[in-house]
């Protein structure tokens, strides 16, 4: 096959990049503002999602092994930006900033629209919760399809395992303290097959939805 001229290859790459960033999801949109508030029930709707990574297994041990394997540098510390790329097993994967229109983030919509696999995959998700003051005695409360492991400010706080559907407040952390300013929430959701999604919110000391914070995809210091 005749090789393409150099400028033609660049045009194709640029078009592919636009296609990646302008993909249309049924329930996800591109964030249009720097910060958002949780929805009326406290659900966090703004996330950075990484394209799926192939993995196998939903049991406790398999999930723990999958999420603690290093796929890319800074996996547990990086705060990515929209369109950032990482390489996993020689495959380039892109981070996408999204807002969900619903209480949950539909990962099937996310990956399917990108023509990526939705079964036997791991999704990384990151968001930043900005608190106007220290908030103690709160809990992260999540649901996921299927297994998932969650970190708040680098501390692993929830692990739920097995083939399961997303149920609001399925997995709930122990009481924790959100510090004043940015708090990083990170998740790894593993799907076996079929639909896949997650939802997340914080609960206050009375197990009511926590509000009074904002969500952003970069650290905001006031």
């Amino acid at each position: 096959m005749r090789s393409l001229p150099k400028y033609a290859a660049l045009l194709i790459l640029a078009a592919a990049s636009r296609a990646a960033t302008q993909v249309s999801w049924p329930t996800l949109t591109k964030p249009a503002s720097a910060q958002s508030a949780p929805d009326a029930d406290g659900f966090i709707q703004r996330w950075l999602l990484l394209e799926p990574i192939p993995v196998k297994g939903l049991g406790d041990a398999a999930v723990q092994a999958a999420v603690h394997k290093e796929y890319f540098p800074g996996q547990f510390t990086v705060i990515p930006h929209d369109a950032d790329k990482v390489t996993v097993d020689n495959a380039p994967l892109t981070w996408y900033a999204v807002d969900t229109k619903l209480y949950n983030v539909n990962l099937y919509h996310f990956a399917h629209a990108l023509r990526k696999p939705t079964s036997d995959v791991l999704f990384w998700a990151v968001t930043i919760v900005n608190c106007p003051r220290e908030m103690s005695g709160v809990r992260l409360a999540i649901g996921s399809n299927s297994a998932s492991v969650w970190w708040v400010n680098g501390q692993e706080v929830i692990g739920i395992y097995g083939d399961r559907q997303t149920v609001i407040d399925d997995g709930v952390s122990k009481r924790l303290t959100l510090r004043k300013g940015p708090n990083v929430v990170r998740a790894a959701v593993i799907n076996g097959g079929g639909a896949t999604d997650f939802c997340a919110r914080f609960l206050d000391a009375a197990d009511k939805p926590l509000k009074g914070f904002t969500v952003s995809l970069s650290e905001i210091h006031e």
Partner: protein, 477 residues
């Protein structure tokens, strides 16, 4: 060795008795609290006292001895109503005495005579014994029921400021017949008249049983669930003889707050205690507007299910399907099963991969797996609470014990040591579910209860009687 085994069996079986310690009493009064102790008084000067409601000992006799006293705490006084026959039945009188304390070691322990508040002349259709005193929570009026098998159970009004009869000339209200040991309580817009039917004082041959009717008015009529007036002999059964306990009588309400109610009674004969008449305390449940006698938790192996979520408490370890992973393809098709019963899964089969140290509990769908079965065992010599001893809750077949942590969360320890945070109080609630509370939580003075938070996790939090979060079911696995 033989005797050692016998001693162990005796120890284990003793916790199945009604309460613990010295329990012999007949016609016990309502159990009342005074300065951290619980007191009850019976016929003939008998008295029992307890520090926790589980272990009882002999108390100090009242200065006025008689038949079937009842006691109530109003303001700074404890009023005791005690009856005595005057010659032959049914000539009798109910006397009142009062003291500022029930604690004989207190300088305030001094009984004053309050006089006769009800009587029967030996001719009228009444026998003025077995008083039951009731404070109406809706209006603060104080009432006394009394009577035995000679004629009617009657009601007179007392003065809550003095404990005395409001008006000696007021005609008593006739409420019931063919019973004795009456008492009253109020619940959700209804007045309930509790009374004991059947024969008394015949040991293991006693037919005593406690029955109830209800009315919208304190003065009756009190109808049973079939609409039969108690004044015509009606009465819905609250509790009768059961197991090796014969002849329950003399209901007394013990309201512990937060919707947790229990009741005191005596058994005419506890066959495991030589047929003695003994005190007991049982949970009081409610169903369709009627009180129901509950059961104190029995030792056993259970799945502990959250009423809120339907998931069960388990050790947070990876489960193994009972019978092993499903084989595919399976002869006979994927839904055919193996054709033989699958044996139970126990910890010995699957625990080799469990971490040796602390493991967190969590909740999951019930799958009959080893990490979901908890053995609940009464712990001797560590006290208890009204009706029950403290329990150890451990994964069946192991010593891995549920415990409270310093941050009011939960952990399963590798071994039980008997520390207070490993001891559990298990109270049956009005709907038949259970509240599970640690004896103590390190660094916390708040009473906390096991609580479902989300579908898959449990924690400790303050009990909310309006929520299902802290309601649990003990199911046979």
């Amino acid at each position: 060795m033989k005797y050692g085994l016998f001693a162990i069996l005796l120890l284990c079986s003793s916790i199945a008795f009604a309460l613990d310690g010295h329990l012999v009493i007949h016609d016990p009064s309502t159990v009342v609290s005074c300065d951290g102790k619980l007191y009850t008084y019976g016929t003939g000067g008998s008295s029992l006292v307890s520090d926790d409601g589980w272990t009882w000992r002999s108390g100090t006799a009242l200065p006025r001895r008689g038949l079937a006293p009842d006691v109530i705490h109003l303001g700074d006084r404890y009023y005791v109503y005690v009856a005595a026959n005057i010659g032959a039945q049914p000539k009798a009188a109910v006397n009142m005495i009062w003291s500022k304390t029930l604690d004989p070691s207190s300088p305030d322990y001094k009984w004053e005579e309050g006089g006769v508040v009800a009587s029967s002349d030996g001719i009228e259709d009444s026998n003025a014994i077995d008083p039951g005193v009731f404070l109406d929570p809706t209006d603060g009026r104080l009432w006394l029921t009394y009577g035995s098998y000679f004629g009617y159970i009657r009601l007179v009004e007392l003065d809550p400021k003095t404990g005395k009869r409001v008006n000696d000339n007021d005609k008593p209200h006739d409420l019931a017949i063919n019973c004795e040991a009456s008492d009253m309580m109020y619940h959700d817009g209804w007045y309930y008249l509790l009374a004991t039917h059947g024969s008394c004082c015949r040991g293991a041959d006693s037919g005593y049983n406690i029955r109830v009717g209800r009315s919208r008015k304190v003065t009756g009529p009190f109808l049973d669930a079939d609409g039969i007036d108690m004044i015509q002999g009606g009465g819905k059964l609250l509790i009768g003889s059961g197991g090796r306990l014969i002849g329950p009588g003399h209901f007394g309400l013990l309201d512990l707050g937060d919707g947790v109610q229990k009741f005191s009674l005596h058994w005419e004969a506890d066959l495991d205690r030589g047929g003695a008449s003994v005190l007991d305390i049982r949970p009081l449940l409610w169903k369709d507007g009627w009180p129901v006698a509950g059961e104190n938790l029995k030792e056993g192996t259970y799945a502990i299910e959250s009423v809120r979520t339907g998931t069960v408490l388990e050790l947070a370890v990876e489960g193994m399907p009972v019978g092993g992973p499903r084989q595919r393809p399976r002869p006979g098709g994927m839904f055919a099963g193996t054709g033989v019963a699958i044996p139970p899964q126990d910890a010995a089969q699957v625990s080799a991969k469990w971490p040796p140290g602390n493991i967190e509990p969590r909740m999951a769908n019930y799958l009959c797996q080893a990490q979901q079965k908890w053995t609940v065992t009464a712990v001797p010599n560590v006290g208890g609470y009204p009706g029950s001893p403290y329990f150890k809750i451990a994964i069946a077949g192991t010593d891995r014990a549920l415990a409270a942590t310093t941050d009011a969360e939960l952990v399963v320890l590798p071994a039980f040591t008997g520390a207070p945070e490993q001891l559990w109080r298990i109270d049956q609630l009005a709907d038949g579910s259970w509240r599970i509370s640690p004896k103590s939580v390190p660094n916390s003075s708040k009473p906390l209860a096991l609580s479902a938070v989300g579908s898959s996790f449990a924690t400790l939090s303050e009990f909310d009687p309006k929520s299902d979060k802290q309601r649990w079911l003990f199911k046979t696995p």
